[in-house]
């Protein structure tokens, strides 16, 4: 089926070339980092994880959200998702791939990455994260590819693929739960030390992922003959609505516990993020922007008239994306480190090289996604022509 990716319009090739240029720029920046060390990033002794781990965390959510298509379609036989489930699975593949790349570029000694497998350590959550992420990548590759191939051959998918697809449902939940456990089990970090971290991650994931999918769906509809269908868009929009409301609700649950209990070790991170702390306030505008985008999205999504409007829905989806990306990306990671365990404040901002590496990884994800979508849409087109 891959041959479908080898023929395309000028726009298709132009886009791929653009991505390749970005990938090359990212790779060159990574080579600088590889030679000089992580000194080229904005990270520090106090904020020891930064933009890379933030993107990783966000993208695990995007990857997990494929379950929002797989579950209705395969468990509830919700036929309207029949045409786009493959797009969700392929989005998951590219997202997991980016997650793995972001972990890789964050390592101080990348050449030793296999030590995680050579010295397996079950008490480390990172060990389990490695297992669930790679497992999820394989499950989605197999499930996506096999179902698409069957579709192309106009035959029913083989029986053995069903259990694999069913497995992908709890597995999707597991990748984001385990990712939350990376943070939620650390005794000295009050911001992360909360049982609601995993639910919060899942809620924002199920808002962000389907929102990205709606935007991709519109793009695909505009650029090709493929139409995911009005019903699919509307159902996805409802999922985004519920999830973004849950996301904001969970956020306020956190706010209540943190501020009503009045425990400084938990409160100070929130204070830093939303009001500034001892004069340090680099993230305050970002956090409020996220919150405002979240509320604006809820207003647009709750009202059926605006939600069903094909011009407003993409705007709402962009707002959801900005809200969850800032919240999980900038806020969740840096916020957990500021103030540090000694209650000192070191602020964090990514450097230009760090951003270039990040763009490079995103470009790689977009490249893989483009190829996969080209194949999937090629099969759908072929099918339609029959």
């Amino acid at each position: 089926m891959l041959e479908k990716a080898l023929s395309g319009s000028k726009l298709y090739w132009g886009w791929l070339v653009c991505l390749l240029i970005l990938m090359a720029a990212g790779f060159a920046s990574y080579l600088v980092q590889y030679n000089e060390g992580l000194v080229i990033t904005g990270m520090s002794r106090d904020v020891s994880w930064g933009f890379y781990i933030a993107q990783f965390t966000f993208l695990v959510g995007v990857a997990a959200s494929a379950v929002m298509l797989v579950l209705p379609y395969y468990l509830h036989h919700y036929k309207d998702f029949g045409r786009i489930t493959i797009l969700g699975e392929f989005l998951a593949i590219s997202a997991v791939l980016m997650c793995i790349l972001f972990i890789f570029v964050d390592l101080g000694k990348p050449t030793r990455i296999l030590n995680v497998m050579l010295y397996p350590t079950p008490n480390s959550i990172l060990f389990w994260d490695m297992i669930v992420l790679n497992g999820y990548l394989i499950i989605n590759l197999v499930a996506g590819w096999v179902t698409l191939e069957s579709e192309r051959k106009q035959v029913a998918p083989p029986g053995w693929i069903k259990p694999v697809i069913y497995l992908s449902i709890p597995w999707a939940v597991s990748i984001h739960t385990v990712t939350a456990f990376l943070y939620a089990g650390l005794p000295g970090r009050g911001f992360w030390l909360t049982a609601i971290l995993a639910p919060r991650f899942l809620a924002s994931a199920f808002a962000a992922g389907p929102a990205v999918l709606i935007l991709l769906g519109y793009l695909v509809k505009k650029l090709t003959n493929f139409d995911p269908g009005k019903a699919a868009f509307e159902t996805l929009a409802k999922i985004v609505t519920y999830a973004i409301i849950l996301h904001i609700f969970f956020f306020f649950l956190e706010v209540f516990t943190v501020f009503y209990s009045n425990i400084p070790g938990h409160m100070d991170h929130m204070k830093y993020l939303y009001f500034g702390y001892h004069g340090y306030n680099a993230l305050v505008p970002w956090m409020w922007a996220a919150l405002i985008c979240g509320f604006a999205a809820i207003v647009l999504l709750v009202n059926p008239r605006t939600r069903q409007n094909t011009t407003i829905l993409p705007i709402a989806c962009v707002l959801v994306f900005i809200c969850t990306w800032i919240d999980k990306g900038m806020g969740m990671i840096a916020g957990g480190f500021i103030p540090n365990p000694l209650h000192e404040i070191t602020e964090y901002a990514p450097t230009a090289l760090e951003l270039l590496v990040t763009f490079g990884v995103y470009a790689t994800g977009a490249f893989v996604l483009t190829i996969l979508y080209k194949v999937a849409l090629g099969v759908k087109e072929e099918e339609a022509a029959l």
Binding site: G37, S44, G188
Partner: protein
Amino acid sequence: MGVDRRKFLKIAGISAALGLGGSVGWQLLRPGQLDAAEEPWNTPYQWVTRDHGALKEVPNPRALKGKRWGMAVDMKKFTPATAKAAVEACNYYHNVPSIPTKQDIKWIWLAPYKNVFPEVENPMAGDYTDMDYITMCNHCDQPPCVRVCPTKATFRRDDGIVLMDFHRCIGCRFCMAACPYGSRSFNFQDPRPFIKKQYDGFPTRAKGVVEKCNFCAERLAVGKLPYCAEASGGAMIFGDVDNAGSALRKALRGRYSIRRKPNLGTNPQVYYLV
């Protein structure tokens, strides 16, 4: 040789680090030579050839042995000069670089009371809360850094010392997120240009790995006390927490001591006498 990599490290790494006075990291002795050796060793282990030709590692008989090592810090005994000397001795003998940015490396340093003991502030306490406190790895009984490390590059020895294997660390920095005391540092860059005067008795580190205080494991192995304790003018008392007769236990007996964040269940082994 039937020695696995980690054991080899334990022996060779530390011995090489201590190749003092031009001696090699470890020495091969002929049968019977061990008993004849009169000079005290300054290496943690020696290899001895047995009659049938096999090699056997023999630990330094003077090595200090403890069930659970700990440290008491008597802030009242410190003068600004001895506190500085303790920090500087550690920095010099462990090749700890001094990097003038927020990507610095610290093994042992001084910080105000409110930073070393956040959430245990007591504005009415006066004197002892006005001082700067010595801060270092607590060599926790239940170390979160060890729990999260995905490669066992950081591990807790049976005698309670939490160590780093610089050759296994992948630089993921999970341990830095896990440490509730901010005791760990990451080599964001090659640290060597930032070492003012290199001490040849201890390995320098490479970029990309995490490091921290090692309770001078290399000193204990040859029967000596940690550098900071030695330089502190009696203000830092090192000893075996599990031995009721140890100097440490004696120091802790008569005085009130506090520990950093004991509510986290890490059971830190650095005690501050106040």
